[in-house]
């Protein structure tokens, strides 16, 4: 890997440039820049009182009590059952938890079988603004949002419409929502990093034809002294094809936009085992400090998204204050793509995720230009006898 600039980050001379130099063919040199994703969470726009005119969804203490009362428990009994909420150290399995787990028909696990419950109703986003992409090309659809930054119409993000009025999914920018922050804080240490590599950059502000590779690393991120993701680290690309996505796009006025395609990313069961978006796009702005910030959007199987929360059952329902049956009915209702040919019900939902990334070096294991690594240099202090026993071990 030849560095173009002495202090650049994978500013590689492409093979094309090398050819151009040798044959005097005039072609612009191109750069490749690498990044590691440092933040990933549902993209939302939180506009004060205007986005949730019906109010914010209740906390789990509130909807659990509502359900207990609905199931016939007296006010006193409901209060008593929840008095140790969410379960003190000595009572991790509070009786109310068992009741909530079967609150539909009193025998079936409501998280695995949400239709055993009625639809309690989830308060949804009703504002005009939202982030994402115009995935279906329509600008006059009733479900469309307007991009609050660019004014672009026709934005589809029904996932945000579904969850945007749940308290744990909300936060005034630049803060991140509590739940996503907590999840990502764990994931970025435990899950191999996600990488972005942009090649074919002839001009960082405007390049007509760039290739974006979105892949997973075999390494985890490293933290810096502030707890953030350390920039300029090197990451090896995971050869698993499930996490190798090649996107094509352009950079216009400093914003990278890719054309719609399918994107698969292996994630982590703590979040979701694997993302698989269709008609997915990236829109990333290069910040002055070299970092990226933007949106990944596309259609995604709505049930997989539901199950990514419901699979944790009561724990996620409680911690996220996400009423699972209400969530189930809402996300199913808001699904807006890929209708089932038999039932006609949509199987996918429009989504958008906020992405931030910091510069990184992306190492390709099959890069023949990379030097072979064999020289680790002189080792540390030499021992007279470096095994158990030292000198005395000879006796």
């Amino acid at each position: 890997m030849k560095l173009l600039g002495s202090y650049g980050r994978t500013f590689a001379l492409s093979a094309g440039l090398a050819l151009a130099m040798s044959t005097a063919v005039h072609a612009a040199p191109s750069e490749t820049r690498g990044y590691v994703i440092s933040w990933f969470g549902i993209a939302g726009y939180f506009g004060g009182d205007t986005d949730c005119p019906d109010g914010i969804n209740p906390m789990s203490t509130e909807f659990y009590k509502r359900e207990l009362l609905r199931l016939g428990y007296s006010e006193a009994d409901a209060t008593n059952l929840l008095k140790d909420f969410p379960g003190n150290p000595g009572k991790p399995d509070g009786e109310y938890i068992k009741i909530m787990q079967t609150r539909g028909d009193k025998k079936t696990n409501v998280y695995a079988n949400p239709e055993s419950s009625y639809d309690p109703g989830l308060k949804e986003i009703k504002g005009k603004f939202g982030y994402g992409f115009n995935l279906d090309g329509k600008t006059d659809s009733p479900i469309s949002f307007i991009d609050p930054d660019t004014g672009e119409k026709g934005i589809k993000n029904q996932y945000y419409r579904t969850l945007g009025c749940v308290r744990s999914f909300r936060a005034p920018p630049p803060q991140h929502p509590t739940l996503a922050q907590a999840q990502w804080d764990v994931l970025r240490d435990e899950m191999p990093a996600w990488l972005i590599e942009v090649s074919g950059i002839t001009d960082p502000k405007n390049s007509d034809n760039v290739t974006v590779t979105l892949s997973r690393a075999t390494d985890h991120i490293s933290r810096d002294s502030t707890g953030g993701v350390r920039s300029d680290m090197s990451f090896n690309v995971d050869p698993d094809p499930r996490s190798h996505n090649v996107l094509h796009g352009k950079i216009k006025d400093g914003v990278l936009i890719t054309e719609p395609t399918d994107i698969r990313l292996v994630a982590d069961p703590f979040l979701i085992p694997e993302y698989h978006w269709t008609k997915a796009q990236l829109k990333l702005k290069v910040n002055p400090d070299g970092t990226l910030k933007g949106i990944l959007g596309g259609y995604h199987d709505w049930y997989a998204l539901y199950w990514s929360y419901a699979s944790s059952g009561w724990v996620e329902e409680h911690s996220a204050s996400l009423d699972m049956p209400a969530f189930y009915y809402s996300i199913k209702r808001n699904a807006d793509a890929n209708p089932d040919p038999v039932t006609g019900e949509n199987r996918d939902i429009s989504t958008a995720y906020e992405i931030e990334a910091v510069p990184a070096f992306v190492i390709h294991n099959d890069d023949k230009n990379d030097k072979k690594v064999s020289d680790a240099g002189p080792v540390g202090p030499q021992r007279i006898q470096a095994n158990i026993g030292g000198i005395l071990g000879k006796f």
């Binding site: 890997m1 980050r9 300029d232 090197s234 680790a376 240099g377 202090p381 026993g389 005395l392």
Partner: protein, 565 residues
């Protein structure tokens, strides 16, 4: 000092003075000027030496718990400071805790079968024969000489009494080993002198003191069995015998340990233990980066100087170094190896290609929140050129240089330019700043930068009359500076003998400097010449009063050096 005095009277031990006198005809001869030598020393083990000895004697699975007494730097080296420190009461407590922790591991069920060379008749009772075998074999490596009969009898008696009271043979050994590890004979490298048969009226180190000085100088540890045997047989008092041992040690992979220990000391890496960086300004710096940075420099040095037997001066210009991914993130360099080290060769003309621009130097000699051309310039002069820069006067106002956000002085060069308008500051800053400003492209944590507060950084400067236009010119100036190899010879000798050189040794050092230059500035060869020289072992009872600061004083105007040696 009474302890030293009594020790100094000790004669050749197992060899005996008579035997030494008989070998006088085989004494060492070299063409170097004859010196009177320096005083014998009593040097407290440094923490790295202590750890290395324990690892070598008992194996690397024995953990060394606890803290150590802080070392003192003198004459540019901790190795010199070790002869000027004692052990405070709290230090004894710390050594005792450490000793108990080590001793317990050595005799535990995991290690005893390997480390105790015999099995007691009954594990619940004393066994003097077995205890004697363990104590004598272990003792000679810890005390760096065979135990005297009195010492051995005392330790065996103590082990037996402890075993009897505790009902456990190994507990008895544990207590005795613990006592040995807190004894002065272990914690201090005591040297003893005997009459020099080759030079009437003069003295030299006795054989075991020679072995110890030799082993710590070349291998940074206690003498091994072969070296102790050579001392016992009197081989170290003959030129052939000494040459044989030195050749064996210089040609051993363990020479790298000695080289690492010397440069760890010379480069002041002990300073990293108290080094802090403001995480909001330098988030990439942490303790692991600090550890890797030291290792990077040590690997670079040993690869160049030991593995490839390169020119010492090339440490300032070598483009080959070793990196981890953590270091790569600071330097902005991709590192393919996921865990561990890999070689990296900077492109020609890259200013990062020098140990002077590595994290281990620029970060160590900076403030927590900003770089410091002054500190860096001072360090270059003191560490690599052995020049002494005066301390700043007590009434200096640093406000101008500390305000990094003053829009009128956006770079360190601009701030220092304003600061040296103070007459009391100008003299010294003219010595230090033009040198340190050459490294301003590297921030306090070692990352490259081309601007400060959006103002371009320039790195031109001057050192001792040599002007340079940028960092590359600077590192070449240090490479070519006539004082660079001279300083190395002086430091290395001081490191070995544990004191500054004396005025009497000036001619001998000049001779070594010339040999060093004529031989292509190869450090292993220099170490061999020092280790085989008679000067390295010569002792002068009166030399203590003559020991001088071996550095070179900087005149106030910064344009002259005055050698005081």
């Amino acid at each position: 000092m009474s302890y030293l005095s009594s020790s100094a009277r000790r004669t050749l031990g197992a060899v005996g003075f008579a035997a030494a006198a008989a070998l006088a005809g085989c004494g060492q001869h070299d063409d170097a000027p004859v010196t009177k030598g320096g005083p014998v020393s009593l040097r407290r083990l440094t923490e790295p030496e202590y750890r290395q000895i324990i690892a070598d004697v008992f194996g690397t699975t024995i953990k060394v718990p606890g803290r150590f007494e802080p070392d003192v730097r003198d004459n540019g080296l901790i190795a010199v400071g070790t002869s000027k420190v004692s052990v405070a009461g709290t230090g004894i407590e710390e050594y005792d805790l450490t000793a108990r922790g080590i001793a317990a591991q050595v005799v535990d069920e995991v290690h005893r079968t390997t480390l105790v060379p015999c099995t007691p008749a009954k594990a619940t009772q004393p066994d003097d024969a077995c205890a004697s075998k363990f104590i004598s074999q272990t003792g000679k490596y810890l005390f760096r000489r065979p135990l005297t009969q009195t010492e051995l009898q005392t330790f065996v008696k103590d082990a037996g009494e402890s075993a009897g009271k505790l009902g456990n043979f190994y507990s008895g050994l544990e207590n005795t080993l613990s006592a040995m590890l807190v004894s002065p004979q272990f914690l201090f490298r005591e040297e003893a002198a005997v009459p020099d048969p080759d030079h009437s009226g003069q003295q030299r180190l006795d054989a075991y003191s020679k072995a110890s000085r030799l082993s710590f100088f070349l291998w940074d540890t206690t003498p091994d069995a072969e070296l102790l045997a050579a001392a016992e047989k009197g081989d170290l008092d003959t030129k052939a015998g000494l040459d044989k041992q030195v050749d064996r040690m210089v040609n051993s992979p363990r020479l790298a340990s000695g080289v690492r220990a010397f440069f760890t000391d010379m480069l002041g890496f002990d300073g990293f233990t108290a080094l802090a960086k403001d995480p909001t300004i330098y988030p990439k710096y942490n303790s692991q980066v600090a550890a890797d940075a030291q290792e990077q420099t040590l690997r670079t040095l040993t690869d160049l100087l030991v593995t490839n037997k390169g020119d010492y001066r090339d440490i300032f210009t070598t483009r080959k170094t070793y990196l981890t991914r953590l270091l790569g993130s600071v330097y902005g360099v991709p590192v393919k190896t996921q865990a561990g080290w890999e070689a990296h060769v900077y492109d020609e003309g890259d200013p990062r290609a020098s140990i002077l621009t590595e994290i281990s130097f620029v970060a160590l000699h900076s403030h927590p929140g900003r770089s410091s051309p002054t500190i860096r310039g001072k360090a270059v002069r003191q560490v690599f050129l052995c020049q002494k820069v005066p301390d700043p006067p007590g009434n200096v106002k640093f406000t101008m240089v500390q305000d990094t956000h003053n829009p009128n002085f956006r770079t360190a060069r601009a701030r220092l330019g304003a600061h040296i308008n103070q007459p009391t500051c100008a003299g010294c800053h003219k010595i230090m700043d033009p040198v340190g400003l050459a490294m301003e492209n590297f921030d306090s944590a070692g990352s490259f930068r081309s601007t400060e507060n959006d103002a371009p950084i320039t790195t031109e400067g001057e050192i001792d009359g040599i002007k340079f236009g940028d960092t590359l010119g600077f590192i070449k100036a240090v490479h070519d500076h006539p004082q660079t190899p001279v300083c190395l010879v002086n430091r290395l000798y001081s490191f070995g003998v544990g004191r500054g050189s004396t005025k009497d040794e000036a001619d001998w050092l000049n001779y070594q400097e010339k040999q060093f230059a004529d031989g292509g500035f190869k450090v292993p060869d220099l170490m061999r010449r020092i280790a085989t020289s008679s000067a390295f072992y010569r002792v002068s009872a009166s030399a203590g009063n003559e020991a001088s600061n071996a550095s070179f004083s900087m005149a106030g105007n910064g344009n002259q050096m005055e050698a005081s040696k």
